[in-house]
């Protein structure tokens, strides 16, 4: 019988909407220092991170980040070239095998140094889509249009998501201070500037622990009761863009029903609406109380932050059953759902 596994600590930077001159390693170092202080641990049984070389424009951006971790004596460590939410998944699996009882997970990204819409073109089918030059915002707009037409929702519904997210972000000391959405021109119709994620530099870290270690390190551990991720076909023509089949599947498998709070990795306003539907989140569920990715989007840490923010509601006792979600790929192609509970057995 595997002991239960919990998120026991979460730390993030005060994210910025511009380059402050800090390197990725410099962004990460205080976060790692703080999470070590918070848990009173200098070493963890396993370490795993998520980052992307195209954000830094150079190979091996994760190598320099090791300097922030203090990997000496050598540590058991791995890395995914994905959002760090998948690094958390890898660490969770490692703890499930019983090889160790603590894991440090971190992610970092500076979108201030790249045009992310253009960069995300390079994640597409290199033979058929990349030559067309379709960028991340244009693809998102296609999905938004498909969703509006199918659901009957209006552009005002998108703006309402932006307004709520930005207001929540202004109340969150770690998120950006963004104004109320105004009548901006379209970025790519039907999406306006406020429907898009802001440029953000930042980093975040989580410590996972199992069984007694979790109880030692945290007064109210956020126990992981379900964790799953699923992919949809890549080609935008091979799926119904107005829905997210993989999010629905991951949500069902992770046990999304009955959560009080959901932190969703919705980088565009319409994605939140598609995800609410796929995950079966009713009006009684508080979505993105942190402001979500529309209020701070340090890519490659954004998904991890969703799980950290959700866990923080359990840590502070304001919720007992929460959900953290992360997405990857064009138009919500991949979805990850982590359900956490203040009760040991969920």
């Amino acid at each position: 019988m595997t002991p239960p596994i919990a998120v026991v600590a979460f730390v993030q930077t005060t994210h910025t909407g511009h380059d402050t001159g800090l390197s990725e390693t410099e962004l990460l170092a205080p976060v790692i220092t703080e999470i070590k202080e918070r848990t009173g641990r200098k070493r963890f049984g396993f370490t795993c991170s998520g980052s992307n070389d195209y954000l830094a424009g150079a190979p091996f951006s994760f190598v320099a980040a090791l300097d922030a971790v203090g990997a000496w004596p050598p540590i058991a460590e791995s890395h995914v070239e994905m959002d760090a939410a998948w690094a958390l998944y890898e660490a969770w699996v490692k703890l499930l095998s019983g090889e160790t009882d603590t894991a440090l997970v971190y992610g970092f990204g500076k979108t201030s140094q790249v045009d992310t819409a253009e960069m995300l073109t390079v994640q597409l089918d290199p033979y058929h889509l990349v030559p067309l030059g379709v960028d991340g915002v244009s693809l998102a707009a296609l999905q938004a249009r498909a969703y509006l037409e199918r659901s009957g929702a209006e552009e005002d519904d998108l703006t309402a998501v932006a307004a709520r997210s930005r207001a929540a972000g202004r109340a969150n000391p770690y998120a950006l201070d963004l104004p109320e959405p105004s009548d901006d021109a379209y970025a790519v119709a039907p999406l306006r500037a406020s429907d898009l994620p802001p440029v953000t530099d930042g980093a975040a870290a989580i410590v996972l622990a199992s069984g007694d270690a979790a109880r030692d390190l945290c007064e109210r551990p956020a126990w992981i009761t379900g964790f799953d991720h699923r992919a949809d076909p890549h080609s935008p023509g091979a799926r119904d863009l107005s829905r997210s089949a993989s999010a629905r599947l991951a949500g069902e498998r992770a046990g999304a029903a009955g959560v009080q709070v959901a932190e969703l990795h919705a980088r565009f306003t319409h994605e939140e609406l598609i995800l609410r539907e796929a995950l079966g989140l009713g009006d009684d569920v508080t979505v993105n109380p942190s402001g979500g990715p529309l209020a701070a989007d340090p890519m490659m840490a954004t998904g991890l932050i969703r799980i950290g923010e959700a866990a923080a509601r359990v840590h502070d006792g304001t919720a007992t059953r929460v959900l953290g979600h992360a997405a990857s790929g064009p138009c919500l192609q991949q979805n990850l759902v982590c359900v956490l509970s203040g009760d040991h057995d969920g």
Partner: protein
């Protein structure tokens, strides 16, 4: 408590300088289809897919798992992508193994690849962020001083690297998938090639290859239904250390020693040379054989070159290293580590063909990467642990 995990299928592509006949997904599917066939399974039997490759800049594709999901039958399933530099092929296999060991899945398909002909690896390895010094030297330029330091430290004679270059290419002649096949390979031939990064000559380096390697990893219950013998995982370990700091031993890194100690402890091995039957070890430059012989505890410090010189690591020696021909004969970078892990599995399954080590029952698979700072290892055996 970890579940048991076994390799029940292995598939490799032919390794070549260029594979213009296949797309990137075509390359991966070639390896994956062979692994599935070996395991007696079809795409629908697979629960999850784990892929690995070296930096995205090598092919100019970021988040390749998104695009590859369709070709790898991953729609509706979990797919993830690992990247730990040169050790990635090994780390990817270990992530897949943990999905079985952690009891999450019964059958995991894992694939590592590189299609180096799509880009220029030496360029991609040398791009640096602002304010850091670019050495503009690729991997050979980085490792050459470490090799020179080993030679000085151990007093190894100059020709030992040449012996490895010849031995691994002789083995490659017996491996149908190997990239470099040089009939009549000899010391004279190696010594006649140009000096690239002193003391590394052209034929003492690995090639640039296109290729993919795949494995199907299975739980005990799934392995019991496999049509062919399984290679049981007896131990897995990863270690990392920072690339630059004062006093770091770059010749015999602590991370490699610790990783080996961890994997030996799990497998109950105290004398690797005596208790293992063969090893597939990441040797991209000839001199890394004697260096890793010492780092991995197959002999004492300063003795590695003597072991190589004695012929102990040849296919006919007492501890064959790289019977497949190794990285020196085939190097699709992101896959090179997984090929080591897969070849170790083939040996203990008795399925290595012409380069089979007679009666091999326990083997080490090893990969390293970055500035010799990332390590991934496993030990596989014919017997269920």
């Amino acid at each position: 408590m970890a579940e048991r995990c076994a390799v029940i299928g292995v598939g490799q592509t032919a390794y070549r300088t260029r594979r213009p006949d296949v797309s990137v997904p075509g390359l991966l599917r070639e390896a994956a289809a062979r692994a599935l066939e070996d395991a007696g399974l079809t795409w629908t039997d697979i629960d999850a897919v784990v892929i690995g490759k070296a930096p995205d800049l090598f092919e100019g594709m970021t988040h390749p798992e998104a695009y590859l999901a369709d070709a790898l039958g991953a729609a509706g399933k979990p797919i993830m992508r690992v990247h730990t530099a040169g050790s990635v092929g090994g780390s990817t296999a270990l992530v897949a193994a943990s999905l079985v060991r952690g009891g999450v899945h019964d059958r995991v398909l894992t694939i590592a690849y590189e299609k180096q002909s799509e880009s220029n690896a030496t360029w991609a390895l040398t791009v640096n962020t602002p304010f850091t010094t670019s050495l503009v030297v690729g991997a050979g330029g980085y490792f050459a001083p470490h090799i020179r330091a080993y030679m000085r430290r151990s007093g190894a004679p100059d020709h030992v690297g040449t012996l490895v270059a010849v031995k691994d290419r002789e083995n490659a002649l017996k491996n149908p998938y190997a990239h470099l096949k040089i009939p009549g390979i000899s010391r004279e031939m190696v010594e006649a090639t140009p000096m690239l990064w002193e003391p590394i000559r052209y034929l003492e380096t690995c090639p640039s290859s296109d290729g993919a390697c795949a494995m199907v990893l299975a739980s005990e219950s799934a392995a019991r239904r496999a049509p062919r013998p399984a290679a049981w995982v007896h131990g897995t370990a990863m270690r990392s250390e920072p690339i630059f700091f004062a006093g770091r031993d770059t010749v015999s890194p602590q991370g490699g020693k610790d990783c080996a100690a961890d994997v030996y402890r799990q497998a109950g091995i105290t004398d690797p040379r005596a208790e293992l039957d063969c090893a597939e070890v990441y040797v991209p430059f000839s001199w890394y054989e004697p260096m890793w012989l010492e780092n991995l505890g197959f002999c004492g410090e300063g003795e590695g070159w003597k072991l190589t010189e004695s012929g102990a690591t040849a296919l006919t020696g007492d501890i064959p290293w790289n019977p497949s021909g190794g990285v020196l004969s085939s190097n699709p970078i992101g896959a090179s580590g997984m090929i080591r892990f897969a070849e170790a599995a083939l040996q203990v399954r008795g399925m290595a063909g012409e380069h089979q080590v007679d009666g091999a029952r326990r083997a080490l698979g090893h990969a390293y990467g970055g500035g010799a700072q990332f390590f991934a290892m496993w030990i596989v055996g014919s017997d269920r642990p």
